[in-house]
């Protein structure tokens, strides 16, 4: 008699939604992807230290609950915001304080692949890799770069590749813009010395930066036919979550003013956030940062422009 095969129980999650009908509908959609979903009408699960991942159907919260969520500067449980409506001011406030994960809701809940990737990363800590956001079998094209002078050639290669796939020119332009921002950040902002000083962040971006051979950055790109992905990984892991939160909050607030917004600090991240369908930042402090940009290329630019923006920030806990 063969041994019994016991499937591990699915881990599930808690969904906060005070609207029973809407919450029940979303819970069933989530359940098909993640297993049991327990519905809560209050924010209380966010205060439970041992709660699993908590998802919040943000659009359905009462004004009082939104205020309360905005005041929660830290909670012990991972928080996943789900929203169908683009609510820039509310998201700006949340991302300024503590929110790390926002997934756009489509007709039948969030994209199942994005949801699984987010939960898997929150639970298991295996945060790196653009493959998690693209369909299985996608061939990703890697390019190792040591000098900032290689950026124009890398962008030319990327543009040629996007054109060969028939990506509409405006979407291809966004892909190039994002890749340029990622590479510029990796060459000029990311490098840190042992004393934590940043040797290149004040350099004009026309001045060449050449990294050591063991510090090279990696650009990767590829498409699964629905999404075009581009990522840049650096070996520094120096991006500070607080700075990301500030830049994202600024990004959600709308029109950027270089005269009043800290002289343009965070403009690069603002630019990136507005150029992507889904922006993912993975950080292993002191060791590695990976920035991933995903653009929906399944339709015209107008489809991209009308859709919401998903965002994830994952930071590995340091053992120092």
């Amino acid at each position: 008699m063969p041994p019994a095969l016991n499937a591990p129980p699915p881990e599930g999650l808690v969904l906060i939604c005070p609207d029973e009908v809407a919450g029940g509908r979303l819970a069933r959609a989530l359940q098909r992807t993640v297993g049991p979903v327990s519905l809560s009408s209050s924010l209380a699960p966010l205060s439970h230290a041992d709660a699993p991942v908590v998802a919040v159907y943000y659009d359905r919260l009462s004004p009082e609950q939104r205020d309360a969520l905005g005041r929660m500067n830290s909670t012990s449980t991972p928080l996943l915001l789900l929203s169908r409506e683009h609510q820039p001011d509310a998201f700006a406030e949340l991302f300024d304080s503590r929110a790390d994960n926002l997934l756009v809701l489509q007709e039948n809940g969030p994209d199942a692949g994005d949801l699984l990737a987010t939960l898997c990363k929150l639970r298991r800590g295996e945060i790196f890799g653009m493959e998690k956001y693209l369909r299985w079998g996608v061939e990703l094209h890697p390019m190792a770069l040591r000098s900032s002078e290689q950026r124009p050639a890398a962008l030319e290669t990327l543009n040629t590749y996007a054109a060969s796939l028939g990506v509409p020119s405006r979407l291809a332009g966004l892909i190039g813009t994002v890749a340029d921002e990622f590479m510029t950040n990796a060459f000029y902002n990311a490098p840190v010395r042992a004393d934590r000083s940043r040797p290149y962040n004040r350099r004009h971006r026309t001045e060449t930066v050449t990294l050591e051979s063991d510090q090279q950055i990696e650009l990767r790109y590829g498409s699964d036919g629905v999404r075009f992905g581009v990522s840049v990984t650096d070996p520094f892991g120096s991006l500070e979550p607080a700075r990301i939160h500030q830049a994202l909050a600024r990004g959600f607030r709308g029109v950027y003013n270089l005269d009043t917004d800290d002289g343009g600090a965070g403009l690069g991240l603002y630019h990136v956030l507005n150029s992507l369908s889904h922006f993912v930042i993975n950080i292993d402090p002191g060791n590695r940062t990976e920035m991933i940009g995903l653009i929906d290329i399944s339709g015209a630019f107008r489809r991209f422009a009308a859709a919401g923006r998903s965002f994830n920030l994952f930071v590995l806990e340091t053992t120092e």
């Binding site: 124009p152 020119s169 405006r170 332009g173 971006r205 026309t206 029109v255 005269d259 690069g268 603002y270």
Partner: protein, 156 residues
């Protein structure tokens, strides 16, 4: 391709500078700024395809430099890439008068991209045609952005 300029100085009317390519940290505006010193200037921007965040900084400095010159500056046929920046970045157009913008159209049937020019004087989002015949296949090419937001910069 980095930004390149094609300059014309007709005997009458403003000097014309046509830009083409990507606005990045390495862009050189000196020649165009010098034109604005000499007389009225018209910047044709149809072919500006991309702009980086460092390019945004350089562009705003460029617009500031132009605003300090004694002659008027006009922006014509502003590309969709730059229209996005006008909507996202305060003062992106500086003190220049924006005369016209490019309206992008995309045909789902054949993937053709085509443009139409919209003169801005007295125009509103209602003047953006939702669709037009595709120049390549004759099917319908739809306006390829969000019409109600496209001209937001004009009302700020």
């Amino acid at each position: 391709m980095s930004l390149t300029w094609s300059i014309q100085t007709p005997e009458s009317g403003p000097a014309i500078a046509r830009a083409s390519g990507r606005v990045t940290e390495g862009v050189n505006f000196a020649e165009v700024i010098a034109l604005a010193e000499a007389g009225p200037l018209a910047l044709h921007l149809t072919e500006v395809s991309q702009i980086s965040s460092t390019g945004v900084r350089e562009w705003i400095l460029f617009m500031r430099a132009l605003s300090e010159k004694p002659h008027p500056v006009e922006l014509l046929e502003v590309s969709p890439t730059l229209v996005r920046q006008l909507n996202m970045i305060a003062n992106f157009g500086g003190a220049a008068t924006i005369r016209s913008v490019v309206l992008p159209y995309y045909c789902d049937a054949c993937g053709n991209e085509q443009i139409q020019i919209l003169e801005l004087e007295g125009a509103s989002s209602a003047d953006i045609a939702a669709e037009q015949p595709c120049e390549a296949c004759g099917e319908t090419a739809e306006f390829d952005d969000i019409a109600q937001n496209y001209l937001s910069f004009a009302s700020r």
